[in-house]
């Protein structure tokens, strides 16, 4: 292995065409083209004068939101409901995720660890909207279905995060307590819990923020809140009312964004 050989070989490789790059680019362009062909969307019809006019009319109607007092009150009520759904869903998930995180962090043997991890993975990989569609079947239409759907998905997410936090926490304080004769529960509560609580609260707040956004959407399958209102008014082509609901959603998202970025400064590690 002579250094000169390496450099010649490298030079040759650098000068020649990059086959991998060419192959990947070709594959990417090919799959994009294939996608458009497979979908067969008629963009010409979509962009034709007639449909552009209809679309324009549809959009123009959104610029006259219904701001009459009773309707705004109704939208405000739905916003509060959305907030309540997201808060309760997150709260339930914190409790359930905390309980599942104990076996998932390997405290009760590896068999239970595998089982808990599998359960958490299944809960997490089904999207909220699918859970909501299932929960609407289980408890009927209404915000409670949304609470359960958010709780189920978020349990999967938080349970896994909590289990990881628990695994990463230093074991010494708890060991010291149990070596000094404390039984298992007090040793955990006074030894490990104080170490992980700040991180767990940060994760919960972060998920709550995401769940507020999600709760606004869950109504599409009948789980109450702003989403259900939007779905209803769009279904009967009341764009003015739908525009008000959209405005309420935007407002909610922006307020949550601002508040969370204020909050986040103190909680940086959870977002790493």
């Amino acid at each position: 292995m002579n250094p000169a050989d390496v450099s010649t070989a490298e030079r040759a490789r650098a000068a020649g065409p990059c086959l991998t790059c060419a192959g990947v680019s070709l594959l990417l362009v090919g799959s994009v083209v294939a996608s458009f062909v497979y979908l067969g969307i008629d963009f010409a019809a979509m962009l034709s004068g007639e449909s552009m006019r209809l679309m324009g009319k549809f959009i123009a109607e959104f610029f006259h939101p219904d701001l009459s007092a009773p309707f705004v009150a109704k939208a405000a009520w739905a916003t509060l409901q959305t907030l309540a759904v997201s808060a309760l869903g997150t709260l339930l998930a914190v409790a359930a995720g905390g309980v599942l995180a104990l076996p998932a962090s390997g405290r009760f043997g590896s068999a239970l660890r595998q089982a808990a991890r599998l359960l958490l993975n299944v809960l997490r990989s089904v999207p909220e909207l699918v859970w909501a569609a299932l929960m609407v079947l289980a408890v009927g239409l209404g915000p409670f279905a949304g609470v359960l759907a958010l709780a189920l998905h978020t349990t999967g997410v938080l349970g896994r995060l909590y289990a990881e936090t628990l695994e990463n926490a230093p074991p010494d304080p708890e060991r010291a307590l149990s070596d000094a004769g404390s039984s298992a529960l007090p040793a955990f509560v006074y030894g490990s819990l104080p170490l992980i609580v700040p991180q767990c609260v940060a994760y919960a707040l972060y998920r709550w923020e995401m769940n507020i956004r999600m709760a606004a959407v869950l109504g599409f399958v009948g789980a109450g809140g702003l989403g259900q209102m939007l779905y209803f008014h769009l279904s009967i082509f009341q764009q003015a009312q739908a525009a008000t609901v959209l405005l309420a959603m935007l407002l909610l998202v922006f307020v949550v964004d601002i508040l969370s970025s204020r909050f986040r400064r103190g909680l940086a590690p959870a977002y790493a």
Binding site: F36, L129, V130, A216, F220, S235, L246, V253
Partner: protein, 278 residues
């Protein structure tokens, strides 16, 4: 000695604070429970229980009839195509937005000159447009487009293009700014055009990160296009919505399995592509 240490009663020094916290918690929680119509009993009402039991019982075995599998395959391909086409369109939307907004290509920032305030104004406006595109979740856009254009994958593609266009635009601009901007600056100072400065000064350093983020977004788009199907934007989600409305548990469980498989494959593919680029 034991006389001096009379057993003092154990008191929690924080008792009052804890009690106040608990009280506030209950006062806040109660209206929330009412607002969210929190009725755990509904889970065990005989009617609901019957429906759910029947539905869950029909989950096993998953439906494997040939017609249904054909439909499933079509829907899966459609979901993938929606994600890919949506990302392609959002890329087209994001690139000009990112170029307009990034400070790394700003000529007026190099030194005092005309057009500084004008350029800054354009940036603020474009930034706001991107925030607006991102603020509405893609499912909401999908619902609006389904109402405007009718059922079908077109609504999903447009919804993805808009939301992800805003997201990609913002992230591209940030990636371009966070890398080494000195080559581009040198080119601009020497009088090169903005596009030349982009391609020769910025892209070589940032290409890997840009591509990797785009692939990651494609993976998210696959998940999002399944969800958008629930409001009628085609693909697996729409099929699942239909099966659920007909309480056909066998079909629903096959679709769920397919969905999990698809998400896993998208994960693997995106990880492999990113490794290839890395």
């Amino acid at each position: 000695m034991n006389g001096a240490l009379a057993p003092t009663p154990l008191r929690d020094p924080q008792a009052r604070r804890r009690a106040t916290g608990l009280l506030i918690g209950v006062v806040v929680l109660w209206p929330m429970l009412v607002l969210a119509e929190f009725r755990p009993a509904a889970l065990f009402e005989s009617g609901n229980l019957q429906v759910m039991k029947g539905f869950l019982a029909s989950f096993m075995p998953p439906s494997t009839s040939a017609d249904f599998l054909g439909l499933l395959l079509q829907a899966t391909l459609q979901t993938l195509a929606i994600a890919t086409a949506g990302i392609a369109l959002s890329f087209l939307l994001a690139v000009p937005l990112a170029l307009a907004v990034t400070h790394a290509l700003s000529v007026s920032r190099i030194g005092p000159g005309r057009g500084r305030w004008w350029g800054e104004g354009v940036r603020v406006v474009v930034r706001m447009v991107m925030a607006l595109l991102r603020a509405v979740p893609e499912v909401v856009w999908a619902l609006v487009f389904v109402r405007a254009l009718g059922l079908g994958p077109g609504a999903g593609v447009l919804a993805l293009a808009i939301t992800y266009g805003g997201m990609l635009g913002k992230v591209y601009a940030e990636i371009l700014e966070s890398g080494d901007t000195r080559p581009a600056r040198a080119l601009l100072e020497a009088g090169s055009g903005r596009l030349a400065a982009l391609f020769y000064g910025l892209v070589p350093g940032a290409a890997q990160e840009l591509a990797s983020y785009t692939v990651y977004r494609w993976e998210c788009a696959v998940r999002a296009s399944v969800v958008m199907g629930f409001v009628g934007a085609g693909g697996l989600g729409q099929l699942m919505d239909q099966s659920m409305k007909m309480l056909n548990g066998g079909e629903a469980s096959t679709i769920l399995l397919m969905f999990l498989l698809l998400v896993m494959l998208a994960d693997l593919l995106s990880a492999a592509l990113r490794r290839l680029l890395g």
